[in-house]
């Protein structure tokens, strides 16, 4: 991608991603409500929530937590910027890991038992999905011979056909990444859980709003990766991404939370069978 186009893509991403992410989140809540036989909140509800949080008084346990959350938001944005500028996919993933570490450290820094357990479980979640994410990139490289998103996106065949195992494996860990049941062990968008609100227990007001926005950015980035599997046809790719998200909502509403052992175990087994299996198949071919 030429410099101008990349810059344009980054600017579009920075401006549009929170809007798209927020809308997706609003639709998510609406669909979830309908699945539960409720009417549900307005589609714009997530925006109301964030604007409200911005207006609230800021209370903190210590000042460091504000700083870490700021870093979290910035590096999540950088992650997506690398991705939508057509940059190196692995680098984007590593930037996302950095952002997650800031998020975890923010929770640790509050010295709160609930945030602490949330942070530990968040690390378990990352450990659970990280191998599959890297294997996804590996698989994409094996087909397209490039790590650059732009090359992967402009590859003339749909990746889905050569990477079916990796696609399914990626769908599996998306449940963890979107914080959906049964794998929403560290924090949940649903109100009650056994560790209060997990990682985000000690954040309020502006910080909580920033976390929410960061998740919107992150979700758009993740759906972007899903789109890569059918990038040769953008319309089908977007439909694929939306279907994926719908599937995640469906899974979310049909499962209760599992223990961390199941999260780690199932994610690694899926990575080993679907991810490694697909890669071995490509390597032997």
């Amino acid at each position: 991608m030429s410099g101008m186009n990349a810059l344009l893509a980054v600017i579009l991403y920075i401006v549009l991603a929170p809007i798209i992410g927020g809308l997706i989140s609003g639709v998510d809540r609406k669909i979830s409500a309908r699945m539960q036989g409720r009417y549900g909140p307005p589609i714009l509800q997530p925006f109301y929530d964030v604007f409200k949080l911005m207006a609230k008084q800021n209370i903190v346990v210590n000042k460091h937590q504000k700083f870490y959350i700021l870093c979290f938001l910035i590096f999540v944005i950088i992650t997506g910027a690398i991705f939508f500028a057509g940059g190196d996919l692995l680098l984007a993933i590593f930037a996302l890991t950095l952002a997650s570490v800031f998020f975890i450290v923010a929770a640790y820094s509050t010295y709160s038992p609930y945030a602490y357990i949330g942070a530990e479980r968040e690390m378990l979640q990352i450990m659970a999905y990280e191998p599959m994410v890297i294997l996804t990139v590996v698989g994409m490289y094996m087909v397209t011979k490039s790590f650059n998103v732009i090359d992967i996106a402009t590859y003339d065949q749909p990746l889905l056909f050569s990477l079916p195992g990796i696609f399914l494996g990626f769908l599996f860990i998306l449940t963890i990444k979107f914080r959906k049941s049964p794998f929403d062990i560290s924090m949940s968008h649903h109100a009650h859980q056994e560790i209060v609100r997990g990682v985000i227990t000690e954040f309020s007001g502006k910080e909580l709003a920033m976390i929410e926005i960061a998740h919107w950015y992150e979700n758009v980035f993740l759906l972007g990766i899903v789109c890569l599997f059918f990038a040769s046809n953008p319309i089908i790719a977007i439909i694929l991404a939306l279907l994926t998200y719908f599937l995640e909502i469906f899974i979310d509403n049909n499962n209760s939370r599992l223990k961390w052992q199941s999260t780690l175990g199932s994610a690694w087994i899926v990575a080993l069978i679907l991810g490694v299996g697909n890669i071995a198949f490509l390597a032997l071919l």
Partner: protein
């Protein structure tokens, strides 16, 4: 050439000076002066040779060879004597076999051996020399203050500090010799000296555990040494050469077995599975020793040798298969030791496992031996040396202040010892986070592996996930903001502060200038071997530097927060005061939190057995392929 000789001999002279002049003031002066001198000398060497490519020196004479031989036998006699005294017959036997082999070789072929170029300098040696010169001497500087404290804390250990410094400087000299030697016999001589030095250092305290672990290290490294001398003999008998730079040009029938033997020696020295236990045992030694063994010397000698063999794996027919099994040993080690690090509570053991894991990654890179992986491997050596020495030394300082080195007791270290904690945060970030060094090389390694052998990348994928887990939970412990106990006062000697600060700055500086290191040092070096080099994509470098810049600038935001509304943690409404809650039976309880160690999944015993069995099988296959 003179600088090379100076770098080998000067530390040895300093060593003897420190042995005969035991006064504290004199030692302080000598150590501080040699830190400066060694740093300047190694920098001067870089200035002299960094643009010349590989330079070979026809230094040496037959008399010198005989001198080295006699010295070797004398050292062997000492080791055998000590082993027998401690009833360590296996160690004595291994040493005896080694000595007999050397003597037989010398008697049978001594007159015929002729190496044109005994010494050489190229960019890899230069990088190693810088690591040894700067980090090695910084560690020696750190030891000045630390050893005083150490004997303050350990009354029952006999004060043998002059001997300690003697060994440390001999070690540095031997390491320099090792990286400049082109004659394998010389290389082997320095190799054995590092084995002996580490033996004395691990056994410094002379208590039962220390002695046992010292002998374990000795036995394993002597076994590797046997492989090394067998390689030399086989190579000379069949190919009439003992020169390192000749290896890639030899026919595959004569070179594969010696290369497999040398790789085996490298595997023992770099504590790969099944030999990882000696490095863990080495944790009983005073912390500067651990830092020295783990970062700039000893284990780096092992991976240095395997990196030198990379071109053989890449170019000699059949070499790739031998290399593949070397790489597999590295991959298995990386994966399993990263897992085991999760289950460790002792900070030094976590560091030890992470060292072994990172060495595994380097061995993995060197074993595959493509040009991208060569780049990644050398970068890993650099970044690991700096960040790991920083971490080890910090743990040493923390241990003297907190009384133990359990990660659980480091809760809220950032409020207790802010400077040291920030140093550790930099070190830990340096080990696994994005814009920092190790991750850059891990990234390159992953990209290189995917191109060369995607199945090996699977090991890295799973291993990295575990790496993230154990580092982050430690990082979290350090950065907790917790009330500082009123009676806590941190005491850090000046020499320790200086070393820790320099290493922290170095960690960041190297991350900032790594594109320059790559451009001016690695690219010419790798091009000279492979014909083309790994080129970093300019835009990715820019992104990394932007991220690094952000990480350096963003903390300033901390200074700009004005008045904030502070509220205590949410404790289900049962808060009594900060960090205390109203518990059952009406008692006020303190909030305490313990991390996940996941012993049932990542416990040492199961994984270790698995690792030993699989790596032994891999090594046997490697020899089979070599034959």
């Amino acid at each position: 050439m003179n600088t090379v000789l100076f770098l080998i001999l000067y530390p040895v002279i300093v060593a003897f000076l420190l042995l005969v002049l035991p006064q504290l003031a004199v030692r302080k002066f000598i150590v501080v002066a040699s830190t400066v001198i060694l740093t300047v000398a190694s920098l001067y060497l870089v200035v002299q040779y960094f643009s010349t490519g590989a330079v070979f020196f026809e230094f040496g004479s037959h008399a010198l060879d005989i001198g080295i031989f006699i010295l070797e036998i004398a050292l062997a006699a000492i080791i055998i004597y000590i082993s027998l005294k401690h009833k360590q017959f296996l160690a004595a036997l291994l040493m005896l076999i080694g000595a007999v082999m050397t003597t037989w070789f010398e008697l049978a072929y001594g007159g015929q051996i002729h190496a044109t170029n005994n010494l050489f300098v190229d960019n890899l040696s230069l990088i190693m020399a810088l690591i040894i010169g700067i980090i090695g001497s910084l560690i020696a500087l750190f030891a000045l203050g630390y050893m005083e404290d150490y004997h303050h804390h350990h009354h029952n250990v006999k004060n043998r500090v002059p001997f300690f410094f003697f060994i440390i400087y001999v070690f540095l000299g031997a390491m320099n010799g090792l990286v400049f030697a082109n004659n394998l016999i010389w290389l082997f001589f320095f190799w054995e000296i590092t084995t002996f030095c580490s033996f004395f250092l691990i056994g410094y305290s002379r208590d039962e555990i220390a002695t046992r672990n010292a002998f374990r290290a000795l036995k394993m490294n002597l076994l590797g040494g046997l492989g090394f001398s067998a390689a030399i003999i086989y190579l000379f008998v069949n190919a009439h050469t003992v020169e390192l730079n000749q290896l890639p040009t030899l026919a595959s029938t004569v070179v594969l077995l010696p290369v497999a033997l040398l790789a085996f020696a490298g595997i023992t020295k770099s504590a790969q599975m099944p030999f990882s236990s000696w490095l863990l045992g080495a944790m009983v030694a005073p912390t500067p020793v651990s830092a020295l063994l783990h970062s700039s010397t000893m284990v780096k000698a092992g991976v240095y040798l395997i990196l030198r063999l990379s071109p053989v794996f890449a170019f000699v027919e059949g070499g790739a298969t031998v290399g593949l099994f070397v790489a597999m040993v590295g991959a298995v080690t990386f994966l399993l030791t990263s897992f085991m690090a999760i289950s460790q509570m002792d900070a030094k053991r976590v560091l030890a496992y992470s060292t072994i894991a990172n060495l595994g990654l380097i061995v993995l890179c060197a074993g595959v031996g493509s040009y991208e992986l060569m780049w990644a491997g050398i970068m890993l050596v650099i970044f690991h040396a700096i960040a790991k020495s920083l971490l080890f030394l910090s743990v040493g300082t923390v241990e003297h202040n907190l009384g133990d080195r359990i990660i659980e007791s480091m809760d809220g270290l950032i409020t207790k010892m802010p400077k040291v904690a920030v140093g550790m945060v930099i070190g830990i970030s340096g080990m696994f986070l994005a814009p920092f060094g190790m991750l850059i090389s891990k990234w390159a390694a992953l990209e290189g592996l995917v191109a060369a052998n995607p199945i090996l990348a699977v090991f890295v994928a799973f291993g990295s996930a575990a790496t993230m887990f154990f580092w982050t939970k430690w990082l979290g412990k350090l950065t907790m903001i917790k009330e500082k106990p009123a009676d806590f006062v941190a005491k850090v000697p000046a020499s320790e502060t200086f070393t820790l600060t320099s290493l922290a700055f170095l960690t960041i500086a190297v991350c900032l200038i790594f594109p320059l290191i790559s451009k001016y040092s690695l690219e010419p070096f790798i091009t000279s071997i492979y014909g083309h080099a790994y080129l970093l994509d300019q835009s990715n470098v820019a992104i990394l530097l932007i991220m690094m810049g952000l990480i350096l600038v963003l903390p300033l935001r901390l200074l700009t927060y004005g008045e904030l509304n502070y509220k205590p943690q949410y404790l289900a409404g049962a808060n009594v005061e900060k960090e205390k809650f109203y518990g059952s039976l009406g008692l006020t309880r303190q909030v305490t939190m313990k991390s996940f160690y996941l012993n049932n999944i990542f416990g040492e015993d199961k994984l270790f057995k698995l690792g030993v069995v699989s790596s032994i099988v891999l090594i046997i296959i490697m020899f089979g392929v070599g034959m």
